[in-house]
Structure formats: structure tokens, C-alpha cells
């Protein structure tokens, strides 16, 4: 396990270095354009050159990248060109907001999808299986911005129960969190349900379950003691990997409800070409991607002693 962790760490560092260098190359090689973004499109070439000199752009491209990377390792991601503030000051509160949203989504989605998945997988092609399976395909097929539209049309404009935006201007308000969370849960629970169902259905057809039933164990005990333990291994990894999906999948929902989270920050930064914010957000996204993969592998290994990664 230690070897696996080390190997993952090295490959993560390698990927992060490569990705950040590529991004730097894309956005920072044209210095005058960078100055133009800060000073506005009507600034003269002389003004831009003065700005560049003042901000240390007279160094070569590689030195600038090396300096930035050195600072980034220490947690200093530079200064945002668009917001004129240290990236760290903007990034962490935004990431915190997205984490709150994600926590609400997970807290509701995991019990719901596991329960539905187990119920569906328990009796394959029974009525309850059919209903749950069709419902999960249906909700997964509705893209987030479409379900956000439909839910707002009903709950915001028809019934007037919930606020249509979630900017949290008047402090934290749980009511504003309901619609964004509902959209994400609606989109995502189907996938986890289907994975749980497949896993459960497979376990139910295995010989040891038949043996347990045939030797006369109570049905409830067969399910709780024998089936669930093995059936929940596969969904566990799927759920952990949803963390990765959520971090970038949340962009549309955050934009739709103007929720001040990580995805909105990344989108605004990309549209402006705010390189240091883009770098920081991308590194965090890559980190979450690799880290969640690692957690899911480790968890899979611990839950299923048959599997060992070298």
C-alpha cells in the first residue's frame, strides 16, 4: 500500500507539473496580451511595457514559470489579474462554498441511491426494479441546466416556494442551497443507483447466497449479513469518484444559480484569461481527481481482500 501511495504521489506531481506548464505556455507566452488584459484594450504599447517591467515580466518565460511553481508549492498561487487580489484569498472561500454544496449533495444522495439500488437489485426484473431503473435513466438523461430550468419553472415561478438564485448575498441561507443541491442529486443519483443495482444483482445470483438461503437462514439475515457486504464494494468506489465529477460538474449549476463557488470562479477566470486563478483551480481539480482515484483504490482494496495492487 505504501508503494502504491508513493507511486501515485509521483505520478500526480508529474501530471500537475505538466498541466501547469502547458497552461502557463498557453496564457503567459504573449506578455503584451497579459498586460492588455489588466490595463484594458485601449492601453498603449508603452503603458503595457511599463506595467510588464514593474511586475517582473522582464525575466525569461522559464524563470517566471519556475518562480511561480516554487511559490505555488508553498501555497502562494500569485495575484489574480482580474480581481487584483492574492489568488489564495479568493480560492479558499470559493472552494469552501463548493464543499458545502457537495456535502449537502452527498448527504442526501448516498443513502437514497444505495437504498434504491439495493431494492432494485434484490429482485432483478421485478416491478420495483423496472420502476427504479427507468427512473434512474430518466433523471440521468436530463442535463443539469435543463433540470435546473424545469425545477425553477415549477418551484420558483409557479409555486414561489424557493429563491431562484443562490448568491447568498444576505449571509448563509439554507433555502438557497436546496435547488442547486436538488439539481445535482437528481442528475447524479441515477448513476450510483444503477451501479449499486448491478452489483447487488450480481451478488444475489452468486452460489453462496443460494447456499445461505437453502440452509434456511432468515431472508433478512442473508441480505444484511451476506449480500450487502459484498454488494456495496463496487458502489463505494463509484461514490468516491463522484467527488471528482462534482468539482467540475458543478460549474453549470453554480453559474445557473449564481452560487459563489469553485466552478463559477474557474469559468470567470477562463473567460478573462486570469492565468494564476486558472492554474490554481486546475491544480486543485487534478489533485482531487488523482486523490479520489487513490482513495477509491485503497478503499476497494481494504473492502475486498481478494484485490491487491502492486
Amino acid at each position: 500500500m505504501f508503494v502504491l501511495a508513493c507511486r501515485r504521489l509521483v505520478s500526480m506531481a508529474l501530471i500537475m507539473a505538466m498541466v501547469s506548464f502547458l497552461l502557463f505556455l498557453l496564457f503567459e507566452s504573449d506578455k503584451l496580451a497579459v498586460a492588455g488584459k489588466v490595463l484594458g484594450p485601449y492601453s498603449s504599447v508603452e503603458q503595457r511595457e511599463i506595467w510588464l517591467e514593474k511586475n517582473g515580466y522582464d525575466r525569461s518565460f522559464l524563470t517566471r514559470y519556475a518562480d511561480w511553481a516554487g511559490n505555488a508549492v508553498k501555497g502562494d498561487f500569485g495575484t489574480s489579474l482580474q480581481l487584483r487580489a492574492p489568488v489564495a484569498d479568493v480560492l479558499w472561500p470559493r472552494l469552501g462554498n463548493t464543499a458545502i454544496l457537495a456535502a449537502v449533495v452527498f448527504a442526501a444522495m448516498i443513502p437514497l441511491s444505495l437504498l434504491l439500488g439495493v431494492l432494485a437489485g434484490l429482485r432483478e426484473s421485478s416491478l420495483q426494479d423496472r420502476v427504479i431503473s427507468v427512473a434512474s435513466v430518466l433523471t440521468t438523461s436530463v442535463p443539469e441546466f435543463a433540470s435546473a430550468t424545469l425545477l425553477s419553472a415549477i418551484f420558483v415561478f409557479e409555486l414561489g416556494w424557493l429563491p431562484g438564485t443562490s448568491a447568498m448575498t444576505g449571509g448563509f441561507n439554507f433555502k438557497e442551497l436546496i435547488l442547486p443541491a436538488a439539481v445535482l442529486i437528481l442528475f447524479d443519483f441515477g448513476y450510483v443507483t444503477r451501479m449499486t443495482r448491478a452489483s447487488m444483482a450480481e451478488v444475489m445470483t452468486s452460489p453462496y447466497i443460494r447456499t445461505a438461503i437453502l440452509k434456511g437462514l432468515p431472508y433478512r439475515r442473508v441480505i444484511m449479513r451476506h449480500a450487502l457486504r459484498n454488494a456495496l464494494i463496487a458502489p463505494f468506489t463509484v461514490i468516491v469518484l463522484q467527488m471528482n465529477w462534482l468539482l467540475s460538474g458543478v460549474i453549470v449549476v453554480e453559474v445557473f444559480f449564481s452560487y459563489k463557488g469553485f466552478g463559477k470562479l474557474l469559468l470567470d477566470a477562463s473567460l478573462f484569461g486570469d492565468i494564476f486563478v486558472i492554474e490554481a483551480c486546475t491544480l486543485i481539480a487534478v489533485f482531487v481527481a488523482v486523490f479520489s482515484q487513490f482513495i477509491s483504490d485503497i478503499g476497494y482494496m481494504l473492502l475486498n481482500p481478494k484485490i491487491r495492487f502492486g
Partner: protein
Amino acid sequence: MDRPVGDQGAAADRTGLARAAASILLLRESPIAMLGLALVLFWVVVALVAPLLPLHDPNLPLTPFKKPLVEAKDGAVYWLGTDHKGRDMLARVIFGARQVLLWAGFATAVAYAFGIMMGVTAGYLGGWWDEVLSFVGNVLLSFPVMVLYIIIITYLGATGFNIVLAVTFASAPGIMRIVRGLVLDIKTRDYILAAETRGETPLYIMLVELLPNARGPLIVDACLRLGYTTVTIAMLGYLGLGLPPPDPDWGKMIAEAQPLGSFAGHMAVIPALAISSLVLGFNLLADGLREISLRD
């Protein structure tokens, strides 16, 4: 070998057609697949015949903010109402289907071409081909998809071809992984060994022996991916990174309608239902196909 080549080709074509017909008939086994096919076919047919339908010009301003089923001055009916610029919603949804199906199909096809090429090469040739291709694939896969899309589109600009490029970058590694896995399995079969003994070139083996035998899972995956790509294109449109205006784009229609939701709800709900039904079609089709393939 001096058999008449032309005849052989024709014969192969006939069996190919017959087999295609047989596999479409196979779909009848699964009501889910039939429903999916019906939804997809509905949109494809509507998109194809759109210029022949008696519709308003989708970019022509008529009367703004008409609700669905309202009669126009000239006696025509706005079946789905009009938008904030007075353009006919029915025409815009239908012409939007043309856009999204065209680009989703094109982007998925290009992504598949690259993914299959990379996957078959990595799987069949192995060695350092496999090492290099798998590494590149893993780097791209560890990139969050949305970040990749947004950076490519904001950097290169929002045009149809850049969307195709972004989709290819994001999907080809995943396709490669599937193809590589299939090829590693098929590679060990006797008929591949036979072809190698006959002295066929690696290119021939990859294209004629390996690829056709890997098609089953790939068709299911392609249906799912068409759905994803449809969502992606509409989502980029929603975020303002989609195809350039004024031609209708479902995602952009929702974005334009969102601030007007309180009094022109139909403007957002109609494109939302349109895209959901199309994606549902692709997903049901994939589901049904998988079910049929598992049954045999």
C-alpha cells in the same frame, strides 16, 4: 487467387446489409431500445426534413413574447410561442436539433476515429507504443473534463471545429482505453494467430480482424457518448462558449431565457425538454442494446 473480386465484394455487401437488417430487427426484443430508437429517430428525421417543413425562418423576428398556441395576425399559429426577439420557438427548436445533431455526430465520430486508432495500436502492437499512448491517455483523463473544455474553447474561440477538437481531446482517451481492453482480449484468439501465420500485415490484422470483432461494446458506448456530447455542446452553449449566434442552439436558448423565467417560462422549458428527450433517447438505446447483448 484469381477469383472475380467484384462479385465477392457485392456478396459481402449483401450479407452486410442483411446482417444490419437482422440486427435492427433484434432491437424489437427490447422495448427500452425501441423507445430510445424512436426518440432518436424522431429528432433525426425532424432535423433532416426541417427545411421542407412549413416553418417560419428561425432567425426572423415576428412578434415577441407570444405564449404557445397563440394565433398570429396572418392566421398562422405559434405552436410553441415566440422568444424575446419575436422568433418562432418551434422553428428554433427544430433548427437547433439540426445544429446539435450535426456537431454531436461529427465530434463523436472524430473522437472515435482517434480513440480507435490509438486503442488498436496500443493494444495490438503493445511495447512502447502502449506505454506512450497509455501515458498520454492517462494525463488527459486525469484532467477534469469541464476544465479541459472551458480552457480549449476560451483559448481557441467558440467555433464548431474547436468544439469538435475539445470533445476529441476529452473523449478519445476513454475510447482508447475501452478499445485497448477489447483488443488485448481478442488478440489471443486463434483467428488472429491464423492471420499472423498467413503473413498478413499488422495494419490488415488491426482493421480487418480485430476491429470488426470489437464492435459490440463499442456500439453501446457510442450511443452513450452521443448523449454526453449532445449535453456537452448544449452546455457549452449555455455557458456562452457554444456555436456562434444567431443560429439556434438549445443551450444558448436556455441561457437567453433564464432571466425572463418569471413571465416567459416557455422560452426555457421548451429547449430543456427538447434536449432531455434526445439524451434520453440515446441513453435508452444504449441500455436496451446492452441488455440484448448480455442476453445472448
